[in-house]
């Protein structure tokens, strides 16, 4: 017998993600999912922007990694509460891992949770974690072809951070090409050109994140609810 189904296969993860989002929204907590390939500069961006954010927000970080607690240690040095989520070889975080991470945070005393996903340009983009906003990171050393190779990483995100822009003179990275390809799949994304060595773009990024947190109900760009 043939049974017609038409069922979203990720329903279970999306239900768990929806539950996380409701739990966070109910406490007025904004949640950002930070994604990008290994070595694109996600942790360095956090180190650069957290001091500006913590002046006016209570921030916590969920640090996703395959192994080691090195990134979590870097965040903890800034005095920001951090929970390490080890996937032990798994290439992405999922909503259930985030639920357990949130259990370990005093959510009533937090305004913003930033999830640093596992470094990988493909797999993490597939999984809704319950965030309100996604931010993608692309370093200029990775190449301007990445938006066309990994479009899901850029689709539906609220912002794209082009990092390591101080290295532009040493690469063939074509900023206009990258911008055009990002816009093709995501005409509304805010694009920031950053460089943590000289602090370029960091203040603008911090201001933008603050504005997002001040929205009464943060937009659920990744949500299908």
């Amino acid at each position: 017998m043939k049974v017609e189904v038409l069922k979203n296969v990720f329903e279970k993860n999306e239900n768990a993600a929806g539950e996380n989002r409701r739990r966070l929204s109910a406490r007025g907590v904004t949640c950002i999912n930070l994604l990008g390939g290994a070595g694109c500069g996600k942790t360095s961006i956090l180190e650069a922007v957290l001091p500006a954010l913590t002046k006016s927000l209570r921030v916590a970080v969920l640090e996703g990694d395959l192994a080691t607690t090195r990134d979590a240690a870097r965040i903890a040095e800034l005095g920001v509460p951090v929970v390490q989520l080890l996937t032990e070889g798994g290439c992405h975080l999922n909503a259930t891992l985030i639920e357990h991470g949130l259990d370990r945070l005093p959510l009533d005393e937090i305004d913003l949770v930033i999830i640093e996903n596992v470094g990988n340009p493909i797999c993490p983009a597939n999984f809704d974690l319950g965030e309100h906003l996604r931010i993608s990171v692309l370093s200029v050393t990775e190449g301007d072809d990445k938006p066309s190779k990994y479009p899901l990483l850029f689709k539906g995100v609220a912002a794209v951070l082009l990092t390591k822009c101080d290295l532009l003179p040493h690469t063939d990275f074509d900023i206009e090409q990258a911008r055009q390809d990002i816009r093709r799949v995501n005409p509304h994304a805010q694009i920031f050109e950053t460089d943590v060595k000289n602090g370029a773009g960091i203040e603008q990024l911090a201001q933008w994140i603050l504005t997002q947190c001040q929205q009464p109900a943060p937009p659920s760009l990744c949500s299908k609810e």
């Binding site: 017998m1 043939k2 049974v3 017609e4 189904v5 038409l6 069922k7 979203n8 296969v9 990720f10 329903e11 279970k12 993860n13 290439c91 992405h92 999922n94 493909i122 797999c123 597939n126 999984f127 066309s148 990994y150 479009p151 899901l152 689709k155 390809d181 093709r184 799949v185 995501n186 005409p187």
Partner: protein, 125 residues
Amino acid sequence: MHEFSIARSLVEAACAEARRVGASRITKLIFRIGVLRQVDDWLMKEAFDLAAGGSLCDGCILSIEKTHLQALCPQCQVRFAIREWNWNCPTCGAEGEDAIGGDELELLSLDAEIPDESGSPEKRL
């Protein structure tokens, strides 16, 4: 290697559906997946066989239907599929605008064996 997570979710969804209709076994699944998901078909089938082991989907044929990223031509209002990152409308050449599509992850249908009341085949899970 998100194929395994997808395979496990697919098996769970299919088994839930099979139980709902009282099936004893699933023989074939049709799964629609968008290219944006960047799934390798061979890896997907390997992962599916692993995830299906011992379940109602054990030994089931997985048929994969791929969908492409979609664009809408602002001039002629025609939807077209993006292939090889070519955003030009096949009719007028204008740059297309992003349209919904290409990120599907849908169980479309399944072929199920449903035991009749007399000689019902043995249920596996």
